[in-house]
């Protein structure tokens, strides 16, 4: 009985390289190489930089989304809350004469409260997170449109949006912030008590309750963080556009869920990585950029993106669904 017990325990066993979980890396490299070879203007510093610049805003809507999908929860309100960041930024700057330094944290705080409320409803009454956040998505989107219509295309003064164009060593700071956030979260997910427990909660919620984790509180806080970070991304995006616009964050949740799932997260919970989600967002934007460069109609692009989402979910169910 004790022959193979304890004796041969490898304490630092190298995790086997898992092709499935890094498929996003190969997809991205493949697409990148393909576009570099076939499109003349693709492989230029300016083009790549501008794609990354776009990605850096949307990525903030994917951070909380990834934390939640690891716990088996879906947050479809990230797109609308992204938009809310822009709408509230306009409200505070135009109507309340606040500076951008005050407006962004305030917008984030309001979004955080909305996330807190959604998280509370979902955990306290065991409501389906997808349905509740679809409700939040609709309601917030309605509010965004009402507000943004009132602004009537008013421009944000340069003094307020100027910070967004800052560069460090020729790279927009938001890109660096994105990479830093992704790496930090990856590190915390792997090594810190607070984020590592997300995988435990996603793997078996009842087990974590049994051993004394406050799993519901963790979920509520992540819904709140997801909302706040989405609003942050939306506010930055609005600064880049120099005026609040209803297209900010529109349909973003679809891109994010595609990005997270092809980035190795599972809708069954227990899996996911921040760096791979970032790669996923990059992949989705790269694909859109590539399709546009091939003059593919935007509506056709929607068909293709939708198909990719279905394919990714299908693979997820095939690979990860069996264990449930």
């Amino acid at each position: 009985m004790t022959a193979n017990t304890g004796r041969s325990l490898a304490t630092h066993e190298k995790r086997n390289f898992n092709f499935g979980s890094w498929i996003i890396l190969f997809l991205t490299i493949g697409l990148f190489v393909f576009l570099s070879l076939t499109r003349k203007n693709f492989l230029t510093y300016n083009n790549i930089h501008s794609i990354l610049y776009e990605v850096s805003f949307s990525f903030f809507a994917a951070v909380g989304f990834t934390l939640l999908i690891i716990m088996g929860e879906l947050d479809l309100s990230v797109g609308s809350l992204f938009g809310l960041g822009g709408a509230l930024l306009g409200l505070f700057i135009f109507n309340h004469r606040l500076s951008v330094e005050a407006a962004i944290p305030l917008a984030m705080a309001i979004a955080a409260v909305i996330g807190l409320a959604a998280g509370f409803l979902i955990t306290a009454f065991k409501l389906n997170s997808m349905m509740v956040t679809i409700g939040v998505m609709m309601a917030v989107k309605g509010y965004n449109w009402i507000q943004i219509q009132k602004f009537g295309g008013r421009q944000i003064p340069r003094a307020q949006w100027g910070f967004i164009t800052q560069e460090v060593l020729g790279v927009k700071w938001t890109i660096l912030a994105m990479v830093a956030v992704a790496v930090l979260f990856e590190l915390f997910l792997a090594r810190s008590r607070h984020l590592k427990q997300l995988y435990c909660i996603g793997n078996n919620f009842s087990t974590t309750i049994l051993y004394g984790l406050n799993a519901n509180l963790v979920k509520i806080l992540c819904f709140s963080a997801s909302a706040a970070l989405s609003a942050f991304g939306g506010a930055l995006m609005t600064c880049r556009l120099k005026h609040p616009h209803v297209t900010v964050g529109a349909n973003l949740e679809i891109g994010i869920i595609t990005a997270a799932v092809i980035g190795g997260a599972s809708i069954f919970g227990g899996r996911g990585s921040m760096v791979r989600t970032m790669l996923g967002v990059f992949f989705v934007f790269l694909l859109q950029n590539g399709m546009t460069s091939y003059n593919i109609n935007t509506y056709v692009q929607q068909i293709i993106l939708g198909s990719i989402l279905i394919l990714a979910i299908h693979l997820d169910v095939r690979i990860n669904g069996k264990r449930t």
Binding site: M1, T2, N4, T5, G6, S8, L9, A10, T11, H12, E13, R15, F188, R191, S192, R193, H194, L195, K196, Q197, Y199, C200, N203, N204, S206, T207, T208, I209, L210, Y211, G212, L213, N214, G270, R323
Partner: protein
Amino acid sequence: MTASDREFLKIADITKTYGVVKALTGVSFSIRRGEIHTVLGENGAGKSTLMKIIGGETGPDSGEITLDGRRIEHFSPAAAHALGIHMVHQELAVFENLTVAENIFPYHNFKKGGRIDYARLHEETRNKLNLFGLKTIKPEETLGSVTLAGQQMVEILRSIVAEPKVIILDEPTSGLNDHEADLLLNILKRLKGEGLTIIYISHRFKEIMRISDRITVLRDGEFVATLENTPDLAESELINNMVGRDLSASLYQIKTVANTSPDAPVLLEVKGLAKRNALNPTDLSLAAGEILGVFGLEGSGASRLSRMMYGLEGKDEGEIAIKGKRFPKVNPRLMVAERVMYLNNNRKIAGLLPELPVTDNLSLPVLRRFSRFLGFLNLKAIARLATDFIKAFAIALPSLSTRPANLSGGNQQKVMLSICLVPEPEILIVNEPTRGIDVGAKTEIHKFLLDIASKGVGIVIFSSELPELMSLSDRILVMRENSIVDEVKAGDYTEQTIMRYAAVGSAEPEGE
């Protein structure tokens, strides 16, 4: 009575294994045409497995079943239905959103011009309901609005209208009150009179004695006896058959002396814990180093008591005191903080993180202990801790990153016990500690539990395996009908007395 009537449903040498667990071993007996035949046994005696096989829900590993002289070839519910065997489960399988009539005739047998003839459907339903004296149930009403007893009757009626030859009823009275149960038993007698063969499962001795023609007792997956229910049949004879193991030859040694010292401090006190329709006011106390067993048959409230003690289920009244500190409300988080741990009865549902490395499993309740600056975990210390536990509990594991999903049941159970011991609990609530694992792992787990208790940890064991309880416990509390009905001390253990308390609630044979 002809031979084919005597051996109407013949069960011959049926064996069924689930993994390492032998659910049935060479079970053979026959059921007569038109009798009510009760199958009796402790939890885990193999009743439900045998019923699943007869009902076609699973096939046997070996052996055969013949109905009316014809061997059953295929085991599927559809095949069983075609042969005229219907099973009514303890858990209702009804369509609450449909009407009573649609539930009784789910295949819409009454058609007129390609459409459902509702007038006829309701008429037929009314006839059936009247036949059973169920005049208060209306064919048109939604089943969800009917009482639980009514739903149970409707489910039985659904089986009856298919004009089966054999009907299996698994604890049909468990959700019913005395009056409703009485009504059901009368209906069953009438159906028997009409020639239906009924296989009946129940733990309620009064009912069994009242309606059965014969009673077959199973024990540990084996056939023990089939008894004629004559007026001289005594409850004690049934109980002796249910428990009559030869324990001298088994791996268990009955504990004869309690190991606890009388001046050991009280660790845990449960005072007046109660919940409506689930648990009558219950008190218990546990001393340091004591192993307290709790025994009850299915539906006795024992497993619910364990969940309520740990705060996994709500309560209406009562409080829990841990080392003198009183808690009017408890939840698992508070219990873990007070150094109380809970070993879950079903490792597949909760208790493990099946897809995460063993290190993550073991460190789960003590993550805070290993977290340093910004919550960063000391992974080396966690690996050391895990290695210690794996060695101490002889868990067969290829590496620390192995996931419990890939381990055997016995090793999974040992991992789960280790998780509970990592926080160094003072009180351990253990629920079915050896369910579904092989004998080797079972003995090891028993040894660990005795070991832990000898170090001063108080342990409450809930188990449906009586020999296990008798070999581990210093005292055994017996539960029946949501109450603790008796306490037996080490030295006074016999399976017969404990089973009698659990089954009929009194120690002396009653002249009923």
